[in-house]
Amino acid sequence: MLRKKWLPLLVVLVFALSVVLSACSKPQETQPSEQPKQEQTTPTASVQDSDNWTKAKDPSKIPEASKSRTDTLIIGLHEPAGTFNPLFYETAYDNYVLSAIFDGLIEVNFDGTYIPGLAEKWDLDKDNNTVTFHLRKGVQFSDGTPLTAHDVEFTYYVLADPTYDGPIDLSPAGIVGFKEYQEGKADKIEGIKVLDDYTIQIQLEKLMGTSLSDLGIPVIPKHYYGKDFKKGNLEGIKALMQKPLGSGPYVFDKFVPGQEVRLVANEHYWKGAPKIKNLIFKTTTDETAVQALQAGETDYETSNITAKKDNVELLESLGFVDYALLPTNGYGYIAFNFYQPKFQDVRVRQALTYGLNRKAIVDAVYQGLAEVRNVPQSKVSWAYPPEDEINPYNYDPEKAKQLLEEAGWKLGPDGYRYKNGEKFTIHFLQSTPNPVNDALVPIAVENYKQLGIEFIAEPMEFNLIVDKIKKAKEKTFDMYFMAWGLSAEPDPYNIFHSKGSQNRNGYSNPKVDELIVKAREELDMNKRKELYHELYKVLNEDLPYIFMYQRHDLNAKNMRVVGFQISSFRDFTYSLYQAELLQY
């Protein structure tokens, strides 16, 4: 009787023990592979890493677990959602996976300029407002079907569909007949013409410098996705979300939700078959990304390791990890509510910039791995102005006080500044949780008090702040901190033009408007570059925002993987076909 009752417990104990024992036996299994270690020569790769990598020096520290994977590269990535269609992806992480499976018409170079992709060249015809893409011949989708202009046309039609809800917005391109098609007044888009199998021409309302970035789309195969495609019904395409087929370096094999995406090399890839046969994107998290790399479970980590000094030191201490600190495509800023009259005076905006110790804030958050910026552009971009032409606004409280005096804000008996009886107070919308605000608010309170300004932070959730910003005209706030992302195309019309859709706080400067329009309409790259330099100089002087910083993204990899030529704009996915695994 009693024995019977103890039986289940015994079974459980045996089970638990067997689990522990089987786990213990794992290191022993991998030991035999250590033995054939005769040669001491260092293996070399045919394509080297780009210079922005800090290289590791100690191949003896490479974990055995990774060495035994001779034909598989494992990339650690924040969990992909599984929206595997380049027209419908929902997260940047899914887009990384997609970049390995699909190609775009154009590619982005290291400095954000455009270079040929599937389109080997393009003609911009200013007189007729057309863009003509000449496709590369001999490109095949991974099932062997040739990629033609009909596939490009099909992709444009999917993007133009009235029920399309993906991340690409074709409307700013201004394709002739696009609106009519969307509104149901036409069955065809008048401005899209396939001239022959390898040439497609797009007729625009107005050809601009930004047109290329608006039209440079990824291409999906019509014969695969287009079977059930009818205007107003994208269900057939969405049904193939987890069976993607493209022309990229790797072919989709299997998706295990929440865990991994498996890909195999595309032998037909037009740049040459990838050197590594298997590619796996494995889900990692902020908490475990470094550990997975350290244990040899991943070879490359792209988005989960925050660029902080602690992490960089940790990676260096591992001895076998290469890392690259890439300036993030984006910048942090403090916005002014221009509907508050006090911010209309440029001297006030300058005073608030001089009077805030931005470096202290940025260093507190990023431990020296972010730089204070003074223009809304990435240092890596072709449009970034020469440093000596812009004002660095180094922390200078005396200058700030002087500017405030000039602007008519005089110190009152209580230590605060007044103008026409109005006390200088700043109501700051502090989104929480946010590590930058955690450092910014205490420093701003202190710094601005010194100038005679009362800085009041109101902590709230991000979505609430969004609601308030939408009603900027009601003047319920003065400033807030946020960040913008940047892409290869520098045009900031939406943000700084007085009619820009994302210009939420009423910033308006005729000179800025003029330069933005000129720069976006110009086709000549050299002239555009000059126009942007001028625009950034004006913005640097006029300060629509207090520009804060540009931080870094950290890419890290096991030194056994080589061939990654990357920059902030040209991410690692472009290097996948040329990467190799060195056998140490």
């Binding site: 929206t83 700013p172 550990q291 609601d467 940047l486």
Partner: protein
Amino acid sequence: MTQFIIRRLLQSIPTLIGASIIIFLIFALAPGDYVTRQFENPKMTPERMEQLRALYGLDKPLPERYLRWAGNMLRGEMGDSLMFKKPVISVINDFIWNSFLLGVAIMFFEWLIASIIGIYSAVRQYSVFDTIATLIIFMLYSLPSFFLGLVLLKFFAVDLRWFPVGGMITTGSNYTGWAYIMDVAKHMVLPVATLTLISVGGLSRYFRANMLEVIKQDYIRTARAKGLKERTVIFKHALRNALLPLITLFTLEIPSLFAGAMITERIYNWPGIGKVVLQAIYVRDYPLFLGYTMLITVLTILANILADVLYGIADPRVRLK
């Protein structure tokens, strides 16, 4: 009995309707929606945002949105998840069984260990074992799961390499059968250990308290006086009675098997429903969040009914009417 169950099921309909309205309102009235996060996308235009809201039906007034959603739910359609772009039911199906697996293992070890510790602590109240067990249990009980999780990860996965760092299967593996089961078991050890260690504390207290109460009853003294063996007294006479209130506790834990563990799943990269739902809340993926919450609501209501029924079966003093 059948009558009782039917009546309870009918009674739960208004509960369900009320719950669905509250859940819907809490989610719909929270600031922001799925399109709001495009706020930080410099290329987004207000026209496109409006177009997207119209496509997702977010532009309609609240009562209409509720009725449409509730109507679909009645027809068994949870709609498409906005962030996964596929039916909610298939998203839930992808992840919930992984959470369930973890939940069942944790529940098993939690009850096993808690019962052993609880019973011994009660039988030997204030003994050295009781004191030490209480101390350790309370220490573990008060640890946050992310901390214990990361500590275990550091020692057993990174330093000792006994267990994998995370995930549910070995990356790139194609195991089947027994090898697959062992592979998953190996990945389960650390998350199961983390959550079991943390939850054992509370449950073992229940066991201890109930046992203590029962042991002091007259019928236990009678059993001892009859000359029964101490083991028989403890396990047959005392434990059975002490288990009665725990039936309810056990049954009410069933829905949580499906609920997932947000933090632990995140740390160990377990492909469970918990972290998916957390993400759904962040990005305001309302079909997914509402579908999942309603599922848990239904399970909770059913578990309540089950608890009452089981209690009635186990304890003849309780009459179901």
